[in-house]
């Protein structure tokens, strides 16, 4: 089983490299991460944390936007595009199951994301540490950022496959992916903010709010990084929500999503007639 998934993954990886996607994604991550690191270097003194911590805090915010975006951009074509090109019928005429096919795509895409994240955040973090100092805590925060970013990416890859399986064409899948990104990354938070304002420090704000927030994988990612590092929490000002939740909630949410979404993607993929 894994042999056939690897065959798919190897091919997909070659495509990612060949069409410059890997290079572009890595460059984007690197440039943004570096820019934020240096733009954010001002408050170091006032908060009493090192530059790497500040950098990780800015990169956390960056990753909330970029990781889902990059993941969805890779994933939306995986099924709908393959059906459209007629390639899926041919691939499925071979003794490879739909699950193996999906797993192969996922492995390649995840590897590409992991590569871009590690190089991007790793380099920016390294530069920050070199110029502004670092300690074990801030290095741990950097490592956590990279790993959780990859997990967040995995989650949106899976959501992208789901959308791709539900769409009749790659164009539709692209549109739906954009909508998904907007909902999870922008609208969800806006909605929560609105609810908090209306609620005026009532039950919702005090009790429900952090939980509802943690359901969204993008927010769970943010909460996890903030809650786990005091320095990062200080610099992002998200301490309130993060501290009211038990520490396992955000990690559980972020780790459950990819599994759940992959399962759903596989289920919808099963109904696709190539």
């Amino acid at each position: 089983m894994i042999r056939r998934s690897l065959a798919i993954a190897r091919t997909e990886w070659a495509i990612t490299r060949r069409n410059r996607w890997l290079v572009m994604a890595t460059l984007i991550m690197l440039l943004f991460a570096l820019a934020l690191t240096f733009a954010g270097s001002a408050p170091t003194g006032t908060l009493g944390v090192d530059l790497l911590t500040v950098s990780v805090a800015s990169m956390t915010t960056l990753s909330v936007y970029l990781a889902p975006l990059l993941a969805l951009m890779m994933a939306f074509d995986a099924i709908a595009g393959e059906v459209e090109r007629g390639g899926l019928a041919l691939i499925l005429s071979y003794p490879v199951s739909r699950g193996e096919f999906l797993l192969g795509k996922f492995l390649a895409h995840l590897a590409a994301l992991a590569f871009a994240m590690t190089i991007g955040f790793g380099t920016a973090g390294g530069v920050a540490a070199y110029y502004g100092g670092a300690d074990t805590a801030s290095f741990t925060a950097l490592l956590r950022l990279i790993l959780t970013s990859i997990t967040l990416g995995a989650c949106f890859l899976a959501l992208g496959y789901m959308v791709s399986a539900l769409s009749r064409s790659a164009t539709t899948a692209a549109g739906l992916s954009a909508g998904l990104w907007l909902i999870f990354v922008v609208l969800y938070d806006l909605g929560l903010l609105g609810a908090v304002v209306i609620d005026d420090d009532g039950f919702f704000t005090k009790v429900l709010f952090p939980w509802v927030m943690a359901i969204n994988p993008a927010d769970a990612f943010r909460l996890w990084n903030v809650a786990a590092s005091e320095g990062v929490a200080l610099t992002t000002g998200l301490t309130g929500a993060a501290n009211t939740l038990p520490s396992w909630v955000a990690p559980l949410s972020l780790l459950t999503w990819p599994v759940l979404a992959l399962g759903l993607a596989r289920m919808f993929f099963g109904r696709v007639e190539p």
Partner: protein, 298 residues
Amino acid sequence: MDEVLSISHAGKSRGSLRVLEDISISVEAGQRIALLGHNGAGKTTLMKAILGLTPLGDGQITVAGHTPGSAPARTTTAYLPESVAFHVALTGREVLRMFAQLSGVKPADVSPLLDRVGLAHAADNRVGTYSKGMRQRLGLAQVLLGRPKLALLDEPTSGLDPISRHELYAVIDEMAAHGTAVLIASHTLTEVEARTDRIAILRQGKLVANDTLANLTRRAHLPIRLRVRAAPDCAADIAHETAGARVNGMHVEMLCAPDDKMAALRQLSAMGDKVADIDMHLPGLEELYRHYATGEDG
């Protein structure tokens, strides 16, 4: 009898449309069957049903005794889709290597195949730079992977020039000689005539013919067309006597059954000088195909 593909009473609906209706075909090892029919007749649908990619409504299909879509059925079946679009960023060799890995053939086996379909020189170029015919050849190369028991070729000649077509049929013959049962979907009888053992024709999802060309020709009983050029002012006479139709001032056209051919000719020659010339048009493959595929004559 070594039956590789068995289709019995296969039927399928899409919405209110009956895309396959009570189709029964059996194909033995080494047989080449042409599957003909108009656009939308159901050829591709039938192939996808054989591959287990689309479910059947009624009836059943077995591939070498296995359920369509099951692992053993897929291992024994090769498929060439009607429009193959391999990823443009990959090279021909990479595409083929992936399929080889999926089918369990060793990667070392790929080069001779590329050579076999005449792609050796372009093996390491991207598919994006291939011509339509070259892509079709790449598609054919993957069909040859791992000696399938059954090959389903959906319009394999589309985009091929006459010489490439010839080569394609040589490849098909070779596969058949090795015992592969080959099902070839096509639009033209002319093309598959000499290259297939049996011809199956679909009309709006129904199997309207499934026999050898000789038997189909005999059974169709298509009329022979006689075109008679009349001497000046004699066209009306000839038309009257033979019950033929006047085409213009000079010609009369008449249809006669194959068995009545000599009688008609005798009648015409008895008219002496009135008849200036006779053209005899025997029903061709196009007419034969049209007879079965549309249900109308001539």
